[in-house]
Structure formats: structure tokens, C-alpha cells
Amino acid sequence: MMTDVSASADPPFRLSMLVNDRRYRSLTFQVIVFILVMAGLWWLIDNTVRNLALMGKSFNFGFLFQRAGYDIPQTPIPYTSDDTHLRAAAVGLLNTLIVSILGCIAATVLGVIVGVARLSRNWLFARLMTIFVEIFRNMPLLLWILIIYAIFTEILPPPNAYRGENPAASMILFDHVALTNRYTSIPTLAMTHDPGSLDLGARVTFNWATIAFVVALVGGWFLRRVLLSHAQSVQDRTGERPLTWWRSLAVMVLPSLFLIWYFGLHLKAPTLQGFNFTGGLNVSNGLVALWLALTLYTAAFIAEIVRAGILAVSRGQSEAAFALGLRPNRTMSLVILPQALRVIIPPLISQYLNLTKNSSLAIAVGYMDLRGTLGGTTLNQTGRELEAIVLMMLTYLVLSLIISAAMNVFNARVKLKER
């Protein structure tokens, strides 16, 4: 027996259906929320406009193009106090990036070592690593930054302690690095045949040698890909894989070795001239302390992530790999690591993001990062809190979004392919 569905399906619309009918209720609710949010935004903007008018200020970013008038100790791109606030902010952003990238690399290396060591069968070593992780995870990052900075400024000798016949202090690492209470002097790379620099405009230059090395490394990596895919096709055709390791090693390393020989690249150690070290790179202790503290703190978190990732791969996987006759290192690289990475990568991304955001604690050691320039001296000099802070927050936001986007691309490559 058929009933006429269409006749009973649509009762005439009544106003109460906006609330009681599930089809309309969510729409009603969203409209109400939309109105409330818009009203709230309007209220905030209206307040801001009125407050700005009361203070006689305007909302514009013109101050960015005025003369900054303050010096920045560490300038990755040329900068003087005659440059604009915009350039000062760019220098600050680059300084943020420098400490973040250095921190991410070092924290990953240390974190992986500690995380694997915590799983070691060695009782003593595993316990020591547990203590390391618990101590660094359960105390504020600011504490570590302050302690390490205090070690540098309070305990290390001043540069002039390295003077004289019998100096009170001596350089470490074969007379290449000098730790002082003002800066850490490290060797620089020097070239006997400097090829000159590429001018990108706005006084930003790139040395041709740097570009040559980047090209050599990327080219080598690309050639290696070609080699490997060729080997794969040979294997698919004939069942025998040609030996590739020495060829891929050669295409990866030889071009760089050639460039090192061609440009005469060598390390130039700092030497004491008068009261200060010259010839090397004098890295401010703010940067070193911040970098070390970020590294140790984040490494403790990464160690836990790595440990959890390895533990998440069930024992049966490695046993199966051994049963197939794979050697331990192949088991690690082909079976365990790809599965562990799937678990490790997403939280690792958020640790990198945290490290980048935590680098804003540079304020505690006077390192001029983005917050120190745009959100610090520029803000205080121009009195434009609203613009400076909004711009700073947007920059950090864009930085975070870029990092998470890049890492998500990587994550998509390693994650489980579900077919």
C-alpha cells in the first residue's frame, strides 16, 4: 500500500519552527551567533576608534618608513640606525628565524638521541636520560634561559683574561672557540678566491659561493634521485640491483669538495687583538644562551615524542622483519622508522612551532628578535602600540602557518597510505 508522501511531508511554515524544527534550528542559531559576533566586533572597533581619537592618534603604518635611530647588535642583513623601522623589523624577524632554525635542528638531534637512549637496555643511561627529561620538562623555560645566561655572564672570563703570556683562560676546540662573558667567539668561513656577491637590491647580498654550494647540494640530491630511480628500473627489469652507494655518495659529496678546493674555503679562527677577539664571529651570549635553553627544553619534549613513536610500533613488526631476513639497520630504516615517523611527525611539528614562539623569550636576555625590535624599541620610540603589536602578532601567525604548512606537506608524504 502506498501513501502519498509529498502531501504530509511539508506542513506550512510557522515561526516556532525556527526554534523547534531541527532543519531550521541550526540556521537560527547561526544567524544569532553571527549577529552577536558582528555586534561584538563593531563594539571593539568603535571603542578603538573613539580611544584613538581621544588620544589624538591615528591608525597607520607610516611610522615603519621613518628613521629607526637605534642600533641592533646582530644584523644578518646590513643595518644602521639611519635605516627605517621596517628594516629594523626585518632584521628582528631574521634574528628570530636564526635562533628558531638553529634551535629546531639542535633540539631534534639531541631529542632523538635522548629519546632512543631512554629506551636503551642500559639501566644507568636510561635512568640518567629520564632524569634529564623530567627536569627540563617540569621547570619553566624562562628559568633555563636565565640560568644559562647567568652562567655565561657571571662565570665565564672576560675577553682580556685570554691576554698575556700565561692567560687565565684558554680557548677550546683547538684554539678555535673563545667563551667570554660578553660573547662567544667562533671561527668564520673564509675564502682565498672570493667570487664576489650577488646584489639583490635593498642592500641584501648573497655571496656567489653560497649560491654555488646550494646549487651543488640540490643538484647532487637531484642526481641521486635519478640514480636511484634508474637502479630501481634496472632491478624491476632484470631482478638485480646495481650497486649505487658509491655513485650516490660521489654525486652528493664531490661537487662540494670541488667547490671547497676551488674557492679555497677554510676556517678562520678568532684571535685576540687588544682587548677583544677579532677575525672570527663574535656571537652575543644572548643568542647562545637562548639557543642552548630552547634546545635543551625542547629536546626533552622531543625525546618523549620519539620514545612514544618508537614504542607505538608493535614488536610484531620488527619480529616480522627479522623473520623476513632483514638486517637490523634495514629493519630500522624500512620497517620501524616509517611507522614510527607517522606517530612522531605531527607532535614534532607542534614542538617546532612552540620553539619558534618561545624564541620571543629573547626579551629576557636582550637578544633583538622580532619582539625586541618591532615590539620593543620601535614600539617604545614611536608610541604606536596598536600597529606594532598587531603587525608583530600577524608576523608570528604567518610564520606559524608557514611552518605548519611545510611540515604538513612532509607529514602527508610519510603518513600511512590508505588504499
Binding site: 542559531f29 617540569n138 624562562l142 614562539k357 619582539r371 608570528y396
Partner: protein, 484 residues
């Protein structure tokens, strides 16, 4: 069978040999050492490396700790004592600074005569937390509450609390203990009003303010009861409206009038007198209590079917997670007076609490979203099949399980937030780590003392954070239902 044996086998043993002790190298400490420390070349190298690290740490820090001085009034006096006791050139810690500046580290610049008030507040906090945190085991409750009662009352009487307040907190503590013996849920109303009570104890002022803040939801509840027969949605909206209108329109006036009629005031303390661990704990506890519900709401909003709600939640969460907490604190200290109507300004600690809360809530939302996603679809479908509406399904089926899954993440967010309370130093508040230690060093007697305050403050933070993480492990074990 046995016959065959007897004929073919020359000798059959009919008594068992007594079990011999294992060889020495396969038992006891030697075996443990062989297995755990020296099982192979790599392992041996690691052991030696580990011993070297231990030796280095002990050699570096041992004499410093062993020569510590606890009783002195200045750093130079410390050094004299160390030199006199352990010889010229000996190193030693001067923990006397902790002893001398204990009050400053704990209470900041809170008026000395009122130190008993924060003490009472945190003592009563344990009573308020009892039904939430230690509801499972009577023994744990007993231990915690008895220790709390003894310590709180002792500290209050030492700090010179008035007899009336001493009796009041004794009454609350004893009532808490009795309730915990009979039925811990009786304490829940106290937990509900504790936040207002705590704020009143800490900041002081008139009691009528908190009372009229409480009256708002009460009126809302009355409105809800009257209208819930007509339409549940209407009743909820009406309850919210009544509460909000009462708070915005009437509460302030009413509190002032009531105060004029009958004064219920205690001495008020301004926010800039807060400092040290009092400040950290106030911000930390408030942030923890507020960020969990906000985080749950954000997580639910992000998983909502409604496009607008979902996008708003995504924008909010990603924005907050994309910027450093320090910039949010700067917004709180520098920009908030741009966003509020001209002439208004409100308390800096409250602003910081709001910022810390929304920061933690955004992270919390992501943690809880993970828990919600990890829940099998069947649970949602079962809730629908039972005919539960959205909120009932969330409250009875989904959230209890999702929150249980997310406990480790939630607690790490709490720990992170508590550690981040030290950042308030950059907006001019006196956190124990930087501002307070700088203030101590500003005195000529303690100029140049760095390591002892760091060790002390670090140890306290470690104890609290480590305690929280152990508690989360206990909670996980307790809530485990063994279905995997």
C-alpha cells in the same frame, strides 16, 4: 611401556637430584649488573659514559650543596661563614637568602599582617578540590584533608590570624573532613562557590560583591524553572539573559547599597601587592579552572556541523595557537584599554588571567578534539540511537570518554600553563622567578646572588609540575576500564 624401557635402557634414574644454586655469575647483583650494565661492548661504553656524567655532576655540585649556609643576613656574611668553616676559597650555596626572603617569595608584597588570608585561601582550596580531585579513595582524602587542616591552622595561627577567622576555617576544614567521611558530593556546593570566596579572601573588599554575583545565576535559575515547562530553549535563553542583565545592571548598585546598610568588608589589597608564588598560584589555579570548560566548548564548536560556529572556532584556535603568549600578555597590558570603552580600566591580574586562560584553552581545545576524534563512531551512533539530544549525548556518552582519553594532554597543557605564569614578569608583575629574584638582588645585602634563588624557585616549580604529571598517571590508571 615401562617394560620396554627396563629392557632397552641400561640405567634409569629414579630419584631427582636436589636443585643446585645457580652459578654466581647468573644470580643476584652480578647477574643484574651483567644484564643491565655490561651486556655488550656498546652497553659497557654507555655505562662508563653514564658514570662519567654522574661523576661530573657530583664533582661540580656536591661541595656547593654540602657547604650550604642557611643562617646569615647577607651574601658577604655567607661567604665569611663558608670561608671560616670550610677554608679559604671553598664554594658553597647561600640558602640563607631563601630563609630570609621566604615571605617575599611566597607572598610578594602582600601586607604582612594579612599573610594569613592567602594561607587560609589555599587551605580551603584543598577542601574545594577534594570532591573533584580525590573523590575515589577515602584514605587519600583523609590524609590530604587532615594534613591540610593541621598545616593551615598552624600556619594561620603563626601568621597571627584573628580568632574569628581561625574558627571559621577550622569549621570549614572539619566540615570538609566530616563530609568526606560520609558523602564527598556534599562538598560540591562549596566547590561551586569557592572561586568567589577565594577572590574575596585574596583581594578583600566587601562581601556583598560576591554575594550579588551569586544572586545573578540564582535569578537565572528561577527564570529557567518558570519557563522550562513552556520551551527548554526559551528557558535557557531567558536564564542567560536574566543573569547577564542582573550582573550588568543591578549587581553593582545593589552591592553598594547593601554595603551601606550592613558593612561586610575586610581590608582590601590591591593587585600590585601580589607577587611570588601567591601570584603564580592565583593565575595558575584560575587559568586551570577556567581553561578546561572553555577548551571543551571550543573543541565541541570546532567539531560542530554548523559552518559558522566551526569557522569561528577554527579562526580563534589557530590565531591563539599561532602567536606567542608574550604577545598576548602585551595585548593585555598595552592594548586592552584601546578595545574597551574610554575611561574603563580593569585589574591587571584579571587581564593576565583572561589571556592565559584563552591561550591555554586554545591548546586544550586541540587536545580534546583529539580525544573526540579518537572515540569510535559507534559511540556517537549509539547516543543517537538512544534518542539523546546533542547536549545529553555529549554530557552522558561522548565527553566522559573523550576527556578520559585526553587526560595526559590536558594535564600537560595545565603544566605548560603553570610554567608560563612566570612570563607575567614581562608585563610588570612580580613572578617568583625573575622579578622577585631581581628585587631580592636589588638589596645591597644580596647583590650578586644568582644560583640559590634559581635552585629554590626551580625546585618548587618542579615539585608542582611533577606532582601534576604523576597525578594524571594515577587518574589514567584509576579510570582505565581495561577495554582495548
Amino acid at each position: 611401556m615401562s617394560d620396554t624401557h627396563a629392557q632397552t635402557v641400561a640405567y634409569v634414574r629414579d630419584t631427582m637430584l636436589p636443585a643446585a644454586a645457580p652459578p654466581l655469575r647468573e644470580s643476584g647483583a652480578v647477574r643484574w649488573l651483567r644484564e643491565n650494565l655490561f651486556s655488550g661492548p656498546v652497553n659497557t661504553i654507555l655505562t662508563i659514559l653514564g658514570l662519567l656524567i654522574v661523576w661530573f655532576l657530583v664533582a661540580t655540585f656536591w661541595d656547593w650543596f654540602a657547604h650550604s649556609v642557611w643562617n646569615a643576613s647577607s651574601l658577604s656574611e655567607c661567604r665569611e661563614i663558608i670561608a671560616a668553616t670550610w677554608g679559604e676559597g671553598a664554594r658553597g650555596a647561600c640558602f640563607a637568602v631563601i630563609r630570609e626572603r621566604w615571605n617575599q617569595y611566597v607572598f610578594g608584597f602582600y601586607p604582612q599582617s594579612l599573610y594569613w588570608r592567602p594561607t587560609m585561601t589555599f587551605g580551603l582550596l584543598m577542601v574545594a578540590l577534594a570532591p573533584v580531585l580525590f573523590s575515589a579513595s577515602l584514605t587519600i582524602r583523609r590524609v590530604v584533608l587532615v594534613i591540610t587542616a593541621v598545616v593551615t591552622l598552624w600556619a594561620m595561627s603563626v601568621l597571627g590570624a584573628p580568632v574569628g577567622w581561625l574558627l571559621f576555617s577550622a569549621a570549614v576544614l572539619v566540615a570538609g573532613l566530616l563530609a568526606s567521611e560520609r558523602n564527598i558530593a556534599w562538598l560540591l556546593p562549596f566547590s561551586a562557590i569557592y572561586p568567589l570566596l577565594g577572590v574575596w579572601f585574596l583581594w578583600g573588599g566587601s562581601l556583598w560583591g560576591p554575594i550579588f554575583v551569586l544572586v545573578g545565576p540564582l535569578l537565572g535559575w528561577v527564570a529557567w524553572r518558570m519557563l522550562s515547562g513552556v520551551s527548554p530553549l526559551l528557558a535557557t535563553v531567558a536564564a542567560l539573559l536574566v543573569t547577564l542583565l542582573f550582573w550588568m545592571g543591578l549587581a553593582g548598585e545593589a552591592a553598594r547599597d547593601a554595603e551601606n546598610i550592613l558593612s561586610l568588608s575586610i581590608e582590601s589589597v590591591r593587585s600590585d601587592r601580589f607577587g611570588g608564588f601567591l601570584l603564580s598560584l592565583t593565575i595558575g589555579v584560575a587559568g586551570i579552572a577556567l581553561s578546561l570548560p572553555l577548551g571543551i566548548m571550543l573543541a565541541l564548536a570546532r567539531r560542530s556541523d554548523m559552518f559558522l560556529i566551526k569557522s569561528l572556532a577554527v579562526i580563534f584556535i589557530e590565531f591563539i595557537r599561532g602567536v606567542p603568549l608574550i604577545t598576548l600578555l602585551f595585548v593585555a597590558s598595552l592594548l586592552l584599554n584601546y578595545f574597551l570603552p574610554p575611561g574603563t580600566s580593569f585589574d591587571i591580574i584579571l587581564r593576565v588571567i583572561i589571556m592565559v586562560t584563552i591561550f591555554a584553552a586554545a591548546y586544550m581545545a586541540e587536545v580534546i578534539r583529539g580525544g573526540l576524534a579518537a572515540l569510535p563512531r559507534g559511540q556517537y551512533e549509539a547516543a543517537d540511537a538512544l534518542g539523546l539530544d546533542y547536549w545529553k549525548a555529549q554530557r552522558l556518552i561522548v565527553l566522559p570518554q573523550a576527556l578520559k582519553i585526553s587526560i595526559p594532554g590536558i594535564v600537560s597543557t595545565f603544566i605548560g600553563m603553570f610554567k608560563d605564569t612566570t612570563l607575567v614578569t614581562f608585563v610588570g608583575l612580580y613572578d617568583p622567578l625573575k622579578s622577585m629574584s631581581d628585587a631580592v638582588r636589588a638589596n645591597i645585602a644580596w647583590k650578586g646572588i644568582y644560583w640559590e634563588p634559581f635552585v629554590f624557585v626551580g625546585a618548587i616549580f618542579f615539585l608542582i609540575c611533577f606532582g601534576m604529571s604523576r597525578y594524571s598517571m594515577y587518574l589514567e590508571r584509576r579510570l582505565q576500564r581495561g577495554h582495548r
